[in-house]
Symmetry: none
Subunit: 202 residues, 4 copies
DNA sequence: GATGAATGAGACTTCATTCAT
DNA sequence: CATGAATGAAGTCTCATTCAT
């Protein structure tokens, strides 16, 4: 975890956690509405429920907020995936179920995913690297599911590509909602994508 | 075309065109490097080769520049596609060739695509709509290719989804370069994606 | 003494003294390094070994710290002078010895003197007056030495001027160290200044 | 000259000169009253007769203003000295006349000298060095006068010390005005200091 | 008495935009 | 048409001070 690397002048670790959660929640709400750049630190503070001075007791720069947000989004995804994608036993149908769960999750987290897509570039190198690593982990999880269920029937490259495709298909439901969600219901979208995936792994 | 809707205080239409091309070229260079928000109008002016005052003779607001850029990127894609994706005759191999051409194009225009992904949300409603329409057109072109080559073997929904997948796979080569281009050469990436597509349309 | 005029919410006078000494010690260290304005009250508190809240139990405003520091510096000078400049008997050689002692002292207290020169103006009228009075006392002590040793050979004005010159020559060794200490050793500096003084009183 | 090293986004060099003179004049007035730290950039702008935005077209940071001010003060001193201290012929009386001129000048520029004493430390290394070099030049000028008039009767060290003493005596009339100007008229101060100097060089 | 989290006024600086030349 | 100096709203961040625990 990298979050601890963000310095705070407050000592109470528990309090830091609570306050940062407030910050993240407030910031995500604002970033969804207007993006990182058009959101002011004052707005973040007030949306978080405290003063600008207090905000800066828990972060160092505005960019820290963005990092906190990006990191938290990945954290949420990770948690949810861990609890929802449980492969009772390795099999193609279970793999499909897992992917379906992932798609449901991405549907719920559309706005958060859009934030990642649009704002990660505003992080500075170090933080961006960290966030991209989390993203890489996501792909890794999907790769695992595939490998487990297909028992090595596909080459490593194919698995990697397939995993990336799945991940991005989950994202595109959200970041291309203006086109996808005009033409598909979530169920139809998932059904069709899953059919194609089934073709691909045969 | 929507570009004309951007007002200019200059009368000479030819000059407007020339100047705006300078602006677009300069702005794209800067947006690639630092993004829209971190680029100043002064920088755009100077990169374009004239003064800040002159810049404002050809645009009304900074956002106009973004619109000009987004529109121009789509314009470029459209042009290139028109000249490169020519289906001599409708057939699956020719469809594959066309998709391959599209992937090559997306490889060349990576940075521009990333700009679209990251900055479109900064456009205001009206302009955003216009840009998203261009994007829709892109999908339409791919759909056409598919329909022509597969002669209606797939349902409209399937075609639409496939087209969107292809379009996004072209994009992801660029906007996920930090993971894709570490694991694949462009050729390998295209080969594998095309194989999957072939499976999907069988 | 004026220090008592600085209000404290703490009752225990002994404790006040101890804490204030901590404050002064910490603050002097910081003021030497970065000056009064660039030092924060938090830094003063932590350098003093306690919390910001505690700091404010013993002072009212940041300026109080500056006053405490200025006053304490003069206090130190006074003490040291009292114990080091003892004129066994009034004579020109003893006067020279006394001045030499004063120069040694000023060498040791260079940084403190620089603080006085640079920050006194940040005190508000009342406090500044008090500090300048201490400075006046310093001159008085030197005048006394001169008068005692020269037995009224010089006019009051001459004595006053000489005393001020001596005082400032002690200071300039420190506040113009970037030029004086590049060209003179302390010994050479004192020797030459003393020679000139001898000429002047002949 | 170092002033050119301060960047300005304005191109017209003549205008830069004019505006900076306004800035310097306004800033000196304010620094005299409240010191550098307690003066805000907005006050400087408005005292200079333009907006905060315009101020920042001619400087980069607030510290630049301080540097401009310090440099300008030395510049003024240098100019005035050049035109007032003209040694018709080298002789002790002419040397005394020159020193007297210097004292008059320091009387007129008291407040400026006080600014130098109190704020130079707020400059960052590079600028501070430059300013101290100007100060060194001042000493050099006085040394020259002495050497010319005394034709090498004194050792280099003695000359240097004497010059520094004279320079500082000029300053102390201003920065210790609260004690000196209570006891001396300017004339008396100069007379007495000059007498002592005469003794010292005999 | 000690602590330290909370506050918010206010400081510095940037930058999109205008307009006189 | 082109220029670039001027503007000032607005943004980020700091820090002296307070007060509940």
């Amino acid at each position: 975890m990298k979050e601890e690397k963000i310095l705070s002048s407050v000592k109470d670790q528990q309090l830091i956690k609570v306050r940062r959660e407030q910050i993240i929640k407030g910031a995500i709400k604002l970033f969804k509405e207007k993006g990182f750049h058009k959101t002011t630190t004052r707005e973040i503070a007030s949306e978080s429920g405290f003063s600008i001075g207090t905000l800066y007791e828990y972060i160092r720069t505005k960019e820290d907020v963005l990092f906190l947000v990006c990191d938290s989004i990945h954290e949420q995804v990770r948690e949810r995936i861990a609890q929802e994608i449980d492969l009772e036993s390795p099999s193609v149908p279970n793999m499909m179920k897992a992917i379906r769960s992932y798609f449901y999750l991405m549907d719920e987290m559309q706005d958060e995913i859009v934030i990642l897509y649009q704002e990660v570039k505003s992080l500075k190198k170090e933080s961006r690297k960290h966030v991209l690593n989390s993203e890489r982990d996501m792909v890794g999880i999907i790769e695992n599911v595939i490998n487990t269920c297909l028992e090595g029937k596909l080459s490593a490259q194919k698995v990697s590509l397939l995993a990336n495709n799945i991940v991005v298909q989950g994202h595109m439901w959200g970041f291309r909602r203006w086109i996808m969600q005009k033409q598909f219901t979530l169920e139809a979208y998932m059904d069709e994508q899953l059919k194609m995936i089934e073709h691909a792994i045969k």
